[in-house]
């Protein structure tokens, strides 16, 4: 089985936010929930780079470690998913996540956050694949259709790569060799313990 990962090539990312709206579009994600976002580092300075970030689907996911109700599970594709039926909206995962992935429908006071929502790598949740129940809770299940996450598929400059970790790392490596520069596979060391070396 493939080990699915995301890799944002910051030397390609132009903060166009296509990944963000593609995600909203594909899953009808409501206002206020940002499964994916683009962060610009060194904004306005010559070293500026933008990075698109969502759940990185970590190895040994820290969210799963802290979840009091063990609602997280990792699929055979290496995708970290969660069960909204079990989720109690405690918010612990949002503090465990190094990437700010977990989102909540409500403001957090009194612990009334509602069920956690996050990037599913376009692969739904525990409900039957591609069922309406799954769509309503988690959004579309593209992986089950043999497709990849729409954010990466629609990325304007093909900065955001999704797919088997080894393959996208190879693509990235090749780009760095071709162009002679690379600002790194942002988040990989944190998420997977190892970055892409060229």
């Amino acid at each position: 089985m493939a080990r699915m990962k995301f890799l944002c090539d910051a030397d390609r990312c132009i903060e166009c936010q296509a990944c963000v709206t593609a995600c909203k579009n594909e899953h009808e994600v409501p206002w206020g929930i940002n499964r994916r976002r683009v962060v610009t580092i060194n904004d306005g300075l010559p070293g500026e780079r933008s990075v698109s970030m969502a759940c990185m689907h970590c190895t040994d996911a820290p969210c799963a470690a802290v979840c009091p109700v063990a609602c997280f599970y990792t699929t055979d594709d290496g995708v970290v998913l969660h069960n909204k039926d079990t989720c109690i909206g405690c918010g612990y995962c949002s503090y465990a996540c190094p990437f700010g992935a977990p989102q909540y429908p409500q403001t957090a006071n009194f612990g009334t956050r509602g069920k956690m929502d996050k990037c599913t790598y376009c692969s739904g949740g525990p409900e039957p694949d591609m069922s309406q129940a799954e769509y309503v809770k988690y959004g579309a299940n593209r992986l089950a259709e043999g497709k990849l996450p729409l954010c990466a598929e629609m990325c304007s400059t093909k900065a955001l790569l999704a797919g088997d970790g080894d393959i996208i790392a190879d693509i990235y490596r090749e780009r760095v060799v071709t162009r002679g520069y690379g600002s790194g596979a942002w988040g990989w060391r944190t998420a997977y313990g190892d970055t892409v070396t060229v």
Partner: protein, 332 residues
Amino acid sequence: MTYLSRLFVALSVVLAFGLSAPQVQAQVNPTQSSVNEDAMFQALGGDSAVVSGRVTIPDRGAGTLISPDNKSWAALQGRTLHTLSIWAVIGMIAILTLFYLIRGKIRIDSGMSGRTILRFNWVERFAHWTLASTFIILALTGLNLIIGKSVILPIFGEAAFGTLSAYGKIAHNYLAWPFMASLVMILLLWIVHNIPEKLDLDWIKQAGGLLKKGVHPPARKFNAGQKLIFWAVVIGGAGLSYTGIMMLFPAEAGTQADWQFYQVVHALIAAALSAIVIAHIYIGSVGMEGAFDAMGSGEVDENWAKEHHSLWVEEVKATQKRNTTQVTTPAE
């Protein structure tokens, strides 16, 4: 991080990595001076650094791109605290069991006198029991959040555990308020009885007589052991309250790291206090004959009182005498 400090960091990164090669012209080459993840982390201080930037959505927290330190908290919360909490509870129960097996139930040496005196009035008992009941639920629901998945989930299964935890979370968040109110009550009611004094040192030296039959160091209304519990509950409770409120209102807590700190403190206090309270429950119930009545009916047997709170009994008697001489005794 404020904008300025971020700017400073950014500038230093640019300076460090963009201009490291001497350049003749003031040429601006954004490609060459692009930030690099590894370099940036190093410049910001290694793995505990937080990489953040600008986002356009109002959620300011979203500007944090990577904070690897969250994983440390996750490990602390998911493993260390998990283990610690289990051991605190199991450890205390084990000690008490051992104590019970060795010492057995502490009896009233002189037997029941049949005469009782009022130890706690209904206000005190109400405060105590509110505190006690909310604490127990809070402790159980809190513990559930940490160790439930390894203790309860395997027994009850996912569905029941999920429901239980969801209600548990609600209970925990809302019962915290009566807990805090009763904590204030006991503080006001009992603080005068709990001011430490020299007497307490003797009591502690003799271990309160708990270990040896027939030894009864003098004590006022609260002996040193009870004072310890009182202060443990008051201080621990206050700590739990403060950290709990911070956790309930994350915006007030400050940064994610601050919240994580409160959570760890909360869990540590909770584990410690749970252990202490288990001991307290033990001694107030099966551990000691006659002790439960103090919070049950409020009336304790005079002999029990004499053995454990000799000075207090004297004070009570003295007061009663004064009262009977000065005030007309009502007809019985």
